[in-house]
Symmetry: C2
């Protein structure tokens, strides 16, 4: 327990409050006034959870899932050199976040022995033919397992990738090719179920009902590639459980997810902070910020009145990486419109320490660095930028992971998911659907000749017309 | 000339105009009204250029620079296995953009023979000790050249990295270590000039006066790593020259940079489009979008009245990648606040073609894909999303590169730089400074013990205090 407490994430709200950033922050007494609404939301979520809803909050407790994932991994381990995820959006971003946070930087380039004989991992979340074609040229297909992830089995990008590699595997391995495929999909419905039956795949994992893509990282969707890379998925779930407990308290001052949701919501709707910047001071967590971008954007960017397509809400999430983006976006953050709230992600300590040797002592621009570490420097920069923004009345929250590991990353993922669900309630929208993406899909299907969209085809061609006088 | 015309970038403004997106677009007659202001800006820029200013527009014509860069590259080629850039912000993002756009995806993992004996390339734009430490463990320092890039020679991150590798090189190579270092800095001033003198470095490249980081990609800053990777830098500059000519026309309907600047400016200031989304449908161009993010944010995010710190302006740039982000941010883009203008980057054709084999013909969710290519699919998706956004009255511009190569990337880089300079004039700010980043730097220096900031130190410590009751 002591050890676990030592790993607990800290969330510091000081710089988002009015005492530090004046009218651009939230006054604690305003937070107190919202406790009543938070109590209602708490009861709504509790009711939803008790009837089996809020499926993502059940995931950290699914021991049978861990067993199932490990069984599949065991069948592949040692047999393949490459493990390729075919998925996009919520079927990829959680995988990428875990891999990037918890694996060594040059993992794929390490000799096999230094990877504990685990395979190289590739997460293919695009259909850019240059990029996907390069992968196919790069890998030995016979020594590669592909994890196809799609709940509906009709994600055009993933199905297209799958058709490509399925034929290659068949050509290379004949009927044994099904051993190199793992399918992660809905337990009952969808086109992949029909394909499983037709081809006879044995390696099949289920996405629990009610778990949407962007809330699926702690399901088999994110866990299998993690397990294949040697990431301790039990510890990841233990971290998520620890945070889940903290997020069950109804008092907003005791519940970091509730307070963060409320601060973001009020910052947006009352103080014009229409942009939420997620800013880890860590390269390893940069891709977790991409995962947050989907979570926040796709959950909250909605019409409050969907029937009449009115009442658009939702903050725009923006990824930044420290210290790098001090030299890219900081100028705008400091002196551009005060329309942002920042979430810094700090590491209490880093998993590596790099000394800066003493040299050029007399040179003002370099000498002072000698004898310090890169660790000192990046921490000083993060604190310096946080303070500079605070003094410019630009609000921020700082989330500190004592160290980046499975347990703390598990906590962070759960924290941000609960925060998103609560923010959805505050905005009065459904955080778990994504009706706005259908139009683009239909227009794609029509162009690609999908038979149920044939009637759209001519119309699409007509509408795509561009007036030449406005093309330069 | 015919060939060059075949490579010309097309910029399609239709979907940003009122005929397509109503009040959320710009009416052509409004554009015409602004021609007078554009004429003034044109004259101002012309005057500036003629007196030697607007230094970035001189870069495409610097043949001696190409010679100098190639001379340095020749000395290193064959002698080193790794080429590492130490730089941040404008000293890194241009390098990364070029490498990512113009090199094969798995370049660093290819056997040397498939890299034409060129070295692996690493661009280190962070001081995260986990990430930089991993690099130092990964490479053979004796076989590595380091390109230190800093105009002032006091960029804390770059100088810290440099002190670390300098000592390692000295330990490994004794006095010969200077051969493994290339310094790119101001021709006359700055701390790196003193270090060049003290250590006796011979490989030195100059950043021309007046060229700031985010406008330096076509200077030795971006060109050396490109040359080392076998990228044709002459062709890159030829592309930039071709676009420079197009950007010299004063009529806004003939000049894609002028029209794009004006459309962005009006979208922001008159239609509330406070966010500029840069959205390549290409993995190779994803990092070029990061370069644009710095260019747009750091150039335009300013006070129009800097003395009184009033009148904050500037759009927030946001990177998206197609098709990937259709499954991440598209929901927000379609149904969230209508506060964005999109720039799609399309490839006329991709450098790779991937067939989708026929299978599962009877399955609605997969069968229609067979016999098409990934190329067909990604183009259909880009057009589908563009049309869906247009129908939702969300304005966009589409920039088409006939193919991604040195010539078209050179054009694109110059286009966006001129567009940024003109937007700066429209906003009435100085696009070439970055006064807002100094406060954070000073606060960092104070914590790190730089002697000219000693007086700040105690104050910083006091101000960093966080009230424990607001830490959860």
């Amino acid at each position: 327990m002591a050890q676990r407490r030592g790993l607990a994430i800290r969330v510091d709200f000081n710089n988002a409050l009015s005492m530090k950033v004046g009218n651009h922050g939230i006054a604690p007494k305003v937070v107190n006034k919202w406790q009543k609404r938070i109590d209602e939301i708490h009861a709504e979520l509790q009711w939803e959870f008790n009837r089996g809803g809020l499926a993502f909050r059940w995931l950290p407790y699914q021991k049978p899932t861990v067993t199932k994932v490990r069984d599949v991994a065991k069948k592949l381990r040692g047999k393949v050199d490459n493990f390729v995820v075919l998925g996009i959006g919520g079927s990829a971003l959680g995988n990428i976040a875990l891999q990037s946070a918890l694996k060594p930087r040059f993992y794929n380039e390490l000799p096999k022995s230094e990877r504990d004989s685990n395979p190289r991992i590739y997460i293919e979340d695009n259909i850019d033919p240059e990029c996907f074609g390069a992968l196919l040229d790069h890998i030995d297909i016979k020594k590669t397992a592909f994890n196809v992830i799609s709940k509906s089995g009709e994600t055009a990008e993933t199905m297209a990738q799958f058709l490509v590699v399925r034929q290659m595997l068949k050509d290379a391995l004949n009927e044994k090719f099904i051993k190199n495929v793992v399918i992660t999909t809905d337990p009952e419905s969808g086109y992949l179920r029909e394909i499983i039956a037709e081809d006879g795949y044995k390696n099949v994992l289920e996405i629990p009902p009610g778990v949407g893509g962007r809330f699926s990282v702690l399901s088999p969707v994110g866990l299998l590639s993690a397990e294949m890379a040697g990431i301790d998925i039990s510890r990841l779930l233990a971290g998520a459980q620890a945070m889940d407990k903290r997020c069950k308290k109804s008092n907003v001052w005791d519940n970091p997810a509730y307070l963060s949701a409320l601060v973001h919501y009020l910052a947006d709707t009352q103080n014009g902070k229409t942009i939420s910047v997620m800013w880890p001071y860590s390269d390893a967590l940069a891709r977790l910020a991409d995962w947050y971008v989907q979570l926040w954007a796709e959950s909250l960017g909605k019409f409050t009145d969907p029937e009449n397509k009115k009442g658009a809400v939702g903050q725009t999430p923006l990824k930044a990486v420290g210290a790098t983006d001090q030299h890219s976006m900081l100028q705008l953050f400091m002196e551009g419109p005060n329309d942002k709230i920042f979430t810094f992600i700090a590491a209490g300590r880093y998993r590596h320490r790099v000394m800066i040797p003493k040299a050029f002592h007399s040179l003002l621009g370099a000498g002072y660095l000698g004898g310090k570490t890169l660790n000192d420097l990046i921490q000083a920069e993060r604190r310096g930028v946080t303070l500079a923004l605070t003094e410019a009345q630009r609000p921020s929250i700082t989330v500190t992971l004592p160290v980046i590991n499975e347990h703390t990353v598990g906590q962070l993922l759960l924290l941000l998911q609960v925060q998103t669900a609560v923010a959805g309630q505050l905005y009065g929208i459904n955080a778990f659907d994504q009706p706005g993406v259908q139009a683009g899909k239909d227009l794609t299907y029509a162009q690609m000749g999908r038979r149920d969209k044939a009637s759209l085809k001519a119309e699409v061609a007509r509408k795509l017309h561009s007036d030449r006088q406005y093309i330069l």
